[in-house]
């Protein structure tokens, strides 16, 4: 499967979104359960508009989805997208497993 320009743009947005500490914190909260944007805003020492902007970045990256309930905007995390960070860590685990196996091989040579 090829990677289209659109896919690349989405990946860019995704990594940009996760590069900020506040956004990661927001994401952690909304992955744990749906939050209103105003409830999220109350958690940070910054303006409502600033928090709204962070939420919008996460939304554009496809990491967070929003719905309306009356006058409230409710945000929740998109668990499937976040799973990809897990996949990356799994890949890096593979690198370390490889090193462990090579150390083990090297140590075994001592006994030969």
């Amino acid at each position: 499967m090829g990677v289209t320009e659109e896919d690349e743009d989405r990946a860019d947005a995704w990594f940009h979104a996760l590069s900020d500490r506040t956004r990661r914190d927001i994401l952690r909260r909304v992955l744990a359960g749906e939050h209103s944007v105003s409830a999220l805003a109350a958690e940070y020492d910054m303006s409502f508009a600033a928090v709204q902007k962070h939420v919008a970045v996460l939304e554009r990256a496809g990491l967070l989805v929003k719905r309306r309930r009356g006058r409230e905007a409710l945000a929740s995390g998109d668990v499937d997208s976040v799973r990809s960070v897990r996949e990356m860590l799994t890949d890096l685990e593979g690198v370390w497993r490889g090193r462990v196996a090579r150390i083990d091989d090297l140590l075994r040579e001592d006994k030969d």
Partner: protein, 162 residues
Amino acid sequence: MPVTDTHHDLESRTVTIEAEFAAPPERVWQVYADPRQLERIWGPPTHPATVVDHDLTPGGRVTYYMTGPEGEKYYGYWRVLEVDEPRSFSFEDGFAKDEQFAPNPDLPVSTTQTRLEATEAGTRATFVSTYDSAEALQQVLDMGVMEGASSAINQIDALVAA
């Protein structure tokens, strides 16, 4: 398999690997203290490592490059943080621009803590590796210094399919 446990922390982007080796910590330490042994274990078979400078002391530097299947070279360095032979050491692992090994500020750094504890069977080793950001993770994968079948492209495919 010598790996006994692994743990991922998504928030701090940390991978922890625990392994048991059938040799005492002093012997496992030598793998890192001897550049010729270190280069045999650091790079995957597709990207063997060559260690250039090697100073495993606090503040010291270890420089290396990995050579890919097409002859492409990836330059890297460790900035050694703490050393407590033969129990533990930690270092920052970053990418360098070229064979001069000047750190590349555009590429991410990861920090790895290695602990070696004596056990009846030999050594319990714990490797804790932390990546600065999700971008750092992605860039490390983009370098293609990977083991097994998966690649950064597959990850992006998985991402857009999610």
